[in-house]
Symmetry: C2
Subunit: 600 residues, 2 copies
């Protein structure tokens, strides 16, 4: 049976030794932070995740959600109670503004807690996760009345939120969507249409569900410029703000899926449902991207969560299961066989998993800090730099992070051999659950297009240039200690490949945009390697400094240095191969006549 414990030590290492979050207490945006509270908060969050969320992960997968004939949906046994405990414990309110009952804690702490919850039970963590996106859209674009009506209840978790984007014929291409909103004449609108793949669209855990729905006004321009966003609650708030009359919307069916069975994926039917415009007319896409960008970072974090729980269970099996003997001779001759962990090829899988997972965690915690800085840093310059970096890194965190989640889950299942394929051991669920994260909130290929189409050219390439400078600067500043130097040198080479790839793109995309399309995924992967490599440089520096200062657990710090070296040796060399591949350009892949792809 798979188990979960929150990666507390690694998270605290990042927050305390790498990001030095405590030093920011009291600074703009960190007023609510008390440095002494970081460890207790995370300790409690980890306990909550492993004791309340994790035990429901496998049972939730087996039982799944049930839609009844009346359109109501029941979540798996125990989910509602665990969610209630989450709300009562205040875990939904960590980073929300104090005005609406939030604790205004830094996002660096918020994402750490979200990782724990998502690693413990990805399906269950989706309900509050989606709510968080709705909160952000309302904070940014809602009217004062809308904020007053919805934000406190969403923050407390009494109500949950959803994003209603996709329609059967309109997935990536939202310009195709058909759901309509007709003015009722009283400031409200009648929303009609069918939305699919609506996560947490209907369930029995909250007294109201607040749907943020993309739809077209009657006079809307065609395509994505004619999309507006509406707030469409399941129950219309009455004059006291309580859930009142049932709105004309319902869950038509739920999907049978590969995984995340505990998270209901709903077809939502809107039949003249009453809704209210958020933001301006035809401004829905901009409002949606507020939700979406936050959601993309959060989905990257889902990849991290699955990688972490899979790694833990892969490692514990490797230290428990005995098969074969070490190549250098029996390690435990008195036992029937040695532990799996003596085998270099098993260690390779574990070290790969570790280097990717911990590197991704460092990256995600850094983006958490950057989120805080982008809103609250003291100077405009700092805020802008943080915002540039977040925008640049969002597609990388989403796509590279979820690729890592699937890859690590798969490799840790491999450590278990045949026992990893058997459902009751839990390893195969991690793979099935991790798989969706590569698809939703913009499939990973879309993230790559976002990177090359929007983020790299943004403001004349300012974000990527500032990233290059950051990496070069940190390499130059790196200590000359062995492991640190090794990762710094490998990172320097990879950064050189990234620069070469970006240069190739600048020279070849203008003449033929398909060259941007064919190179996009590889460039994103190289950027992912460099970004995570930068994290390993920082972690190696911090671990090396801690060892020198006699701080922290020495064996933990030494393991960090080994993982940094492993990342340098086993991951960063891919940057060169990826650069060579993308330089082949689009010629061959575009030359194939479409019908030649079909077997006949």
């Amino acid at each position: 049976m798979a188990d979960y414990s929150a990666p507390l030590r690694d998270t605290l290492f990042n927050l305390n030794h790498v990001l030095k979050l405590g030093d920011r207490a009291g600074q703009p945006g960190f007023e609510a932070l008390d440095a002494d509270m970081i460890e207790p908060i995370l300790t409690e969050a980890g306990k909550f995740a492993s004791e309340v969320f994790a035990p429901l992960n496998a049972s939730g997968d087996r039982q799944g959600c049930t839609r009844h004939d009346d359109g109501s949906v029941t979540v798996p046994d125990g989910f509602a109670d665990a969610y209630r405990q989450m709300c009562e414990g205040g875990w939904t309110t960590l980073t929300a503004p104090e005005t609406y009952g939030g604790q205004a804690l830094p996002h660096a702490i918020g994402v750490a807690v979200e990782e724990f919850l998502s690693g413990a039970n990805m399906s269950l963590a989706m309900y509050p996760g989606l709510t968080d996106g709705a909160i952000r859209a309302l904070v940014a674009r809602g009217s004062d009345e809308q904020k007053a009506t919805y934000l406190a209840r969403l923050t407390s978790g009494e109500w949950t939120g959803t994003m209603n984007l996709t329609e059967p014929h309109a997935g990536t291409d939202l310009g195709l969507l058909r759901t309509r909103a007709e003015p009722n004449g009283d400031g409200s609108y009648a929303v009609s249409g069918t939305k699919i793949f609506i996560s947490c669209g209907e369930h029995d855990m909250a007294s109201n569900i607040v749907h943020l729905v993309l739809a077209r006004l009657p006079d809307a321009p065609k395509g994505s410029k004619g999309i507006s966003m509406f707030i469409v609650p399941k129950f219309l708030p009455d004059e006291n703000g309580e859930s009142g009359e049932r709105n004309r919307l319902s869950c038509g069916s739920i999907e049978e899926k590969m995984g995340i069975h505990g998270s209901c994926t709903c077809v939502m039917n809107y039949d003249g449902a009453k809704g209210w415009l958020i933001g301006g007319e035809h401004q829905g896409l901009a409002a949606m991207f507020i939700m979406m960008n936050a959601a993309r970072l959060w989905v990257g974090l889902q990849g991290l969560g699955q990688a972490e729980v899979a790694y833990q269970n892969g490692a514990s099996y490797a230290l428990d299961r005995r098969q074969g003997r070490a190549l250098t001779g029996p390690v435990e001759p008195g036992q029937s066989a040695d532990l799996l962990v003596v085998h270099p090829d098993v260690r390779r899988l574990l070290m790969d998993a570790r280097a990717k997972t911990e590197g991704l965690r460092a990256l995600i915690l850094w983006t958490g800090l950057l989120t805080d800085l982008s809103h609250h840093a003291a100077t405009e310059e700092e805020r802008t730099q943080a915002d540039d970096l977040i925008q640049l890194l969002t597609p990388v965190v989403k796509a590279v992070g979820t690729d890592i989640g699937y890859d690590v889950s798969t490799q840790m299942q491999q450590v278990w051999g045949g026992h990893g394929y058997v459902a009751e051991n839990g390893m195969e669920q991690f793979v099935r659950d991790a798989r969706i994260a590569m698809i939703y909130e913009g499939a990973n290929g879309i993230q790559a297009m976002d990177l090359v189409g929007r983020k790299l050219p943004m403001k004349g390439g300012r974000a990527i240039q500032s990233f290059f400078a950051l990496v070069d600067g940190e390499i130059a500043d790196a200590a000359s200690d062995g492991a640190v130097r090794e990762i710094a040198e490998a990172l320097g080479k990879a950064n050189g490949e990234l620069k070469a790839a970006a240069m190739w793109l600048m020279q070849n995309a203008p003449e033929n945009p398909d060259n941007a399309g064919s190179a996009a995924y590889a460039i994103m992967e190289i950027l992912g390697l460099v970004a995570i490599g930068l994290m390993w440089l920082r972690m190696a520096n911090a671990a090396s400094a801690a060892i020198d200062a006699g701080e922290g657990d020495k064996s933990f710090m030494e393991a960090k240095l080994l993982c940094a070296r492993h990342f340098a040796q086993s991951e960063l060399p891919d940057a060169g191969a990826l650069r060579r591949k993308l330089q082949a350009g689009a010629e061959v892949i575009m030359a194939m006549p479409a019908e030649s792809f079909l077997r006949a």
Copy 2:
């Protein structure tokens, strides 16, 4: 809903244009081959696979197998009838010796048909697939009486066969197995023990099930040198060779698994079951490897089957689903959106899938031919060379082939976006089914160890040296035509990386065997790239020659040349990165203290 059609054209291209199988008709080992029959046989086999096997794939997955309280197991609806049709159609007898009712056709044809069946319905194809392994072991090691009793009925499919190796504590490490066989005094043995993960161990499709069971004799040496193989039928054959008395064995339970739900995975309990020794005492491992090596090639073919069916459905979706516009401007302005296939990043996924899948098919069909040549070629030298190549390539086909199966299935699911995650569309089943092939018949890491530990050093490195010479020779002979030259040059570089990797291994493994272990997987992957690259060189040569001669479908041949170029541009560059990685050696991965792998 996913669909399947046999890749007939590509298979015939390989058999006719690349392997020129028809030219061998009448040669030793190809006496039963009539060149004019190749296309009709494969056409019929393809029809059978798509019309009889494929329609049961999704329903078999949903329904799964059922074990009843009496230990009997029911397969999914329709399986038994489809299997009966398979037997009646003679599809189980293609390559079996004529003495036992086989058709003695070349294995190159046999593996082609097996791919079709496995691609159409991997679970259902396992029942005859396992039987095939049992036949091979009996042909090679059975006594005349055993052959007379079992082979005709196994060949016809009236009885099916299984391999009983794994025990709860003994998976990869068969030396740990505990099942015992006590002499009954009448030449038979009483076999007692528990076996797990027994595919097709119990079912209702055949009148008898013939288990080949590894067990220990009372005086057996410890470890893998004390293992013997026994034939233990479910029903003891009576004096007429019919199924008689029930043997003392039963299915204790079946596993709930990630996939291949239509294939029952049984716990088999032997309780003094009557069995007969196959081969000599304590010679079980050698007998098992006869089954196992054939099974490993067949499992690689399962990877091919899933890659193919996933590719077909990915490609057909890309030519059906409309989202977004081409980067170079609308291709079909009259439509709401362009087809997915206009997008370079979608084409990248399709071209990757195509290049890997068709390259793997060529490799597997070649190993089919090599199997025939290893047994029947006119000269000892030819037989030996063919056998060397098969031994060298077996771990590559198994591991690289199944990695491709999983990777391509995953990427084709990605083409479908959210619709690929929904069960009813069928894409996610391909991923779940493909996953097991990386694990069973020796997990892929074990294949890598087999390659570096046995196959590379075998006979002083004779097999790999002869492979190097073969590749160099074919590169030297390659036509100077554009696409052919491009793949030849890229292959030459990759072969250089392989030589460098092999050299590094020779220089570094003797001093520290862990260097062999840490490098094993990467070396296997490089060998896979070179072997598949060689296939693309051959296919490009053949396609180029066909175009020059005006033979065959020109658009098909042109697509071959494009895929060859894509393989050269997008796959072969990985060889260099893999070589650089493995040269880091085992130091870092072995330096981590075992307990540092645990989160605490």
